[in-house]
Amino acid sequence: MSVMVDIRSVHKSFGPLEVLKGIDLAVGAGEVTVILGPSGSGKSTLLRTINHLEKVDRGAITVDGALVGYRRAGDKLHELREREVLKQRTRIGFVFQNFNLFPHLTVLDNIIEAPVSALRRPRAEAVDGARRLLARVGLADKADAYPRQLSGGQQQRVAIARALALEPKLLLFDEPTSALDPELVGEVLDVIKDLARQGTTMIVVTHEIGFAREVADTVVFMDEGRIVEQGTPGEVLDAPREARTRAFLSKVL
């Protein structure tokens, strides 16, 4: 199986605080990786380094064989120009905890914005694609609504459709259900599960243990900027080797 994401000894500090202390992680194409861990463990930061929303201090990340954010020349990594980084990002979908839909644009305009302006797709083609995606997330009738007229769960489904509109090779989810009312979590997880079944490569940071058990190929447990352990859901969730993993799971289960 080919490797889609390859993370090698990634370090990241915010001022004096080191939030990533050397992360190594490989994600195979078509796999679903779920990252668990307490707040402040660095899992969101790790996710954000994968599409260069955060720059790494040390180490390297490749997505589909291409270095993210840098160009290698000998032993040096030269930072790419913003335009090149933006181009890389169009192949990596990102779904935020707080949706971050554009409130002044309709649902349809939210979805076609990137295909039209970043990929230079003809508008009509982008609109067709957007309507198909909306149907796929069960919101075909909401194309002309504004984000604020939708429930949190609906907004997050639109945000997923918006990420899919770029036809990314990789989808990153940063706690996609943490800002939702409990009864709305299910509808969003259903959409993500559906994507998983269709073989989309995904990395999901979440607190939903049940979701991890059902969907993940690999579960990664992080704490204090390090990967404590990783393995299949059966290994990590049901028979954790590390005491810290057991302590965390006993609190959230």
Binding site: L86, I92, F96, N100, P103, T106, Q149
Partner: protein, 284 residues
């Protein structure tokens, strides 16, 4: 209070069905008294304005649309428009500089705002008007010929306005959630597109009300250029009353025109605000 006492307090419920009870609103005698007093005062004021011969309303009517007054009004209008346009263009650049990652740009922008907010506009206009004392020639041209009163008015007001516009624009940009920019970056939108399509339209909601305030302030503030003999609305009125001594009627002419234009701008503001409130679900 424990649930026990709550239950006891609720226990003696009215035996009859509650829908026979009639609700009587509180009597607001104070409101009535205040309204009557204010209306009386207002009536007294209007009456005195209309009955006071010294207002000379016939003279007001005579000069309201006279050529020199309309020319003055026109100058006031285009001066306001030019100053607002240039002031906001410069202000937007200053705001961008202030929010940039470059410490030199940030410091220069801060310094500009500090300096031009510190100098009273009247002082600034007089300084620019007398700049020839510092630089008798600019590029081989006599400064007095290069910088006539109208040019001085445009330069002085624009530099003054830009300092305030910079803060208004900066506040607007800061009001846009950081997540909006991140989402746009994650979608691969170019810097230009992020600015024009995502940040600015959302910032406009916070920019428009203070900008409209500034526009109205500038409209009336341009009357200050009468001190350097620019024939704006006020100066045109002054020219007439210096000749005819009908001071109050001509000040009324200027007052009426300023009021009319301000009212029109207020209506415009309503529609602009409504435009930028799209998707906000709240327009007030």
């Amino acid at each position: 209070m424990s649930s026990d006492t709550l239950a006891k307090a609720a226990a003696p419920a009215p035996p009859e069905p509650a829908d026979i009870l009639r609700i009587v609103p509180q009597r607001r005698y104070g409101q009535w008294t205040a309204a009557v007093a204010v209306l009386a005062l207002l009536g007294f004021a209007v009456n005195s304005v209309l009955r006071n011969e010294a207002f000379q309303w016939d003279v007001v009517a005579q000069y309201l649309t006279t050529d020199s007054v309309l020319r003055g009004l026109w100058l006031t209008l285009w001066l306001t428009a030019v100053v607002m346009a240039l002031g906001f263009a410069l202000g937007a650049l200053l705001a961008a500089a202030r929010l940039s990652a470059n410490p030199v740009l940030r410091a220069v922008s801060w310094g500009y705002v500090w300096l031009f907010r510190s100098i009273p506009i009247l002082v600034q206009l007089l300084l620019w008007f007398n700049i020839g004392a510092l630089y008798p020639q600019i590029l081989g041209v006599k400064t007095v010929d290069l910088l006539g009163p109208v040019t001085v008015a445009v330069i002085g007001l624009t530099l003054h306005e830009a300092a305030y516009a910079a803060e208004v624009v900066r506040a607007g940009i800061l009001s846009v959630d950081r997540g909006q920019i991140e989402a746009a970056q994650a979608l691969g939108l170019s810097r230009w597109r992020r600015w024009w399509r995502i940040v600015l339209p959302q910032a406009m909601r916070s920019i428009v009300p203070p900008a409209a305030n500034m526009l109205i302030g500038t409209l009336k503030g341009t009357s200050i250029v009468s001190v350097i003999a620019v024939s704006d609305l006020l100066f045109s009125a002054q020219l007439i009353y210096h000749r005819t001594y009908q001071v109050i009627p001509l000040l009324m002419v200027a007052t009426i025109w300023y009021t009319v234009v301000t009212s029109v701008l207020g209506v415009g503001q309503y529609y602009v605000e409504r435009h930028f409130a799209r998707g906000a679900g709240r327009t007030r």
